[in-house]
Symmetry: C2
Subunit: 324 residues, 2 copies
């Protein structure tokens, strides 16, 4: 049996954490034969609730779980980690606009970024806590000992929502669809791109017109978070955790040629300014992601790419003080 991977989860006592931990522990992220040690981080006031979560994890007697640790100290949580799920973040409160939210979250990710320097150089970091692209950018900035390639932000929930909508519209299962991906920011500006997507091998753009793909489809995916809150009386938790599992599993175990979405640190691909954390089409192999380059970009898509660049540059400007 492989040596255990050390896997940290922040905001571990929250609702996404509660869904995520059991999925990790059952082998969904790293494989059914890969043991893990769970390293759980919470803010001090949430430690007593986290203790209850740890009790329930013990009570699940997972064969793959070789240890469970909890702390309110990011350096302890991240020390020697192979993978880190940055789930915890400060939620939006009444009267906050997006710039306020970005600024309020900044200091959390400064501290966590510095602490990530204690992890392995090969650590895989996924940022789930919103605004996740810019939180990831800050953490990466302060984790100066870890390569940029190891920092990612989650747009897989948008991608999965796009698959769900297309499957419903086409009357097929999600598994019949391939190669839909997300450009840009995990925000309502994100663009779900179907230009190379297929359903049972046929082009989706031959089945569904621009009026739908640039209209209802895009709008439904962009506003899905709010629709879930309205229907369920609580924000997306299990589906967000599921997307984080998909992102990490694909990164760790590979996509076998499938194209998926990851927010990564741009090197200038597709005209996205280097250094922005931006969702792009990627494939994964041998534990590494690679941007799919050379795709033909329509005028509409180019406009959406530009809109997301401007949104993310705006977020970056809102944390200019923090980035120094």
């Amino acid at each position: 049996m492989n040596a255990p991977l050390r896997v940290a989860v922040t905001g571990a006592a929250g609702n996404i954490g509660y869904s995520l931990l059991w999925r990790i522990a059952s082998g969904n992220a790293f494989g059914a034969d890969q043991p893990v040690i769970l390293s759980l981080l919470e803010i001090t006031p949430a430690l007593s609730k986290l203790e209850g979560v740890v009790m329930e994890l013990m009570d699940s007697a997972f064969p793959l779980v070789k240890g469970i640790e909890m702390t309110d100290d990011p350096e302890k949580a991240f020390a020697d980690c192979d993978a880190i799920f940055l789930v915890g973040s400060r939620p939006r409160s009444a009267g906050m606009d997006r710039a306020d939210l970005v600024a309020a979250n900044g200091p959390i990710f400064v501290g966590q970024g510095k602490a990530i320097n204690k992890a392995k150089k090969s650590v895989k970091v996924i940022t789930v806590g919103n605004p996740c692209n810019t939180n990831c950018l800050i953490a990466n900035h302060y984790a100066n000992e870890i390569p940029d390639t190891q920092f990612t932000a989650m747009t897989r929930l948008d991608q999965n929502r796009a698959y769900g909508q297309l499957a419903g519209k086409l009357g097929v299962a999600a598994s019949d669809i391939e190669n839909v991906f997300i450009w840009g920011n995990h925000a309502d500006t994100m663009y779900p791109d179907c230009s190379i997507a297929t359903v049972n091998g046929e082009k989706i753009t031959d089945k569904l017109g621009e009026d739908y793909l640039h209209g209802d489809f895009m709008k439904t995916v962009a506003t899905r978070g709010g629709a879930i809150i309205k229907a369920r009386g609580a924000s997306s938790a299990a589906s967000a955790a599921s997307a984080a599992i998909d992102h990490m599993r694909d990164w760790h175990l590979g996509t076998n040629g499938r194209i998926v979405s990851m927010g990564i640190v741009s090197k200038g691909e597709y005209g996205v300014p280097a250094g922005l954390v931006y969702s792009m089409p990627v494939t994964c192999e041998n534990g590494e992601w690679k941007v799919v380059e050379g795709l033909e970009i329509s005028e509409f898509c180019q406009g959406k790419i530009q809109q997301n660049i401007e949104a993310l540059e705006g977020e970056k400007a809102a944390v200019a003080d923090i980035l120094g």
Copy 2:
């Protein structure tokens, strides 16, 4: 790829359901290559919340999920099912004792038992909703077209809690332990039996004395539900769902010789009156469970077996009217 299994979950909008559905959808219960169609049942007032859960399941784009249906009609929910998780039940309210709780739940399981006649003859039913042994007994009584062998009650959470406690005490991982199982009722009378259990191949009774195994250990496992509520501010959900997954996976895919706990309809094994739903040591193979017979029973264990017989006969008496 195999044909999809039709899997029903009752109480699907509740907290255990919310943990359970993603574990089923990811292949944890029926295997990573076994597609499923999810058939979700809720009481009418919870259907709008269930709609939110279904939206999140769509948003998870699970490759194995070939359909998701929701209804408030048990006959529709259970029609042609291969597996049923009976999770929903009426919780205890202030001033109810166990007999009141048993009586309050009876009518739910009369209706669901009758509706289970619409499922496949080979349907695997696990009863999670408490008092689960007697709820299972009622459902089985009214599902007269389905063999008794297909009705089970969940004591796997007690078993998993026992593994967690022993692993903590011995300083090992849960996977180092084998063959701990539960006798009797899913209630504080249940008996976690370590008489044939091992840790890394050595007998646990050689490592831990009766003062612990019949004292703190038994008490901690029996009162764990209350301890979780105190620590987490909510009752066990993810760990209960995880136990249901373990129970169904072992039944469906086999235990490979390992002994596990299932509440089954007694045929008189170990002196347990025929017809009671009682947790026994079982092994599973080819989709069938089999009671492990011929175990040596200590005087202490015999007393616990008898205590659970009396408790379950008391519960049965409380629903005598319902059983007719």
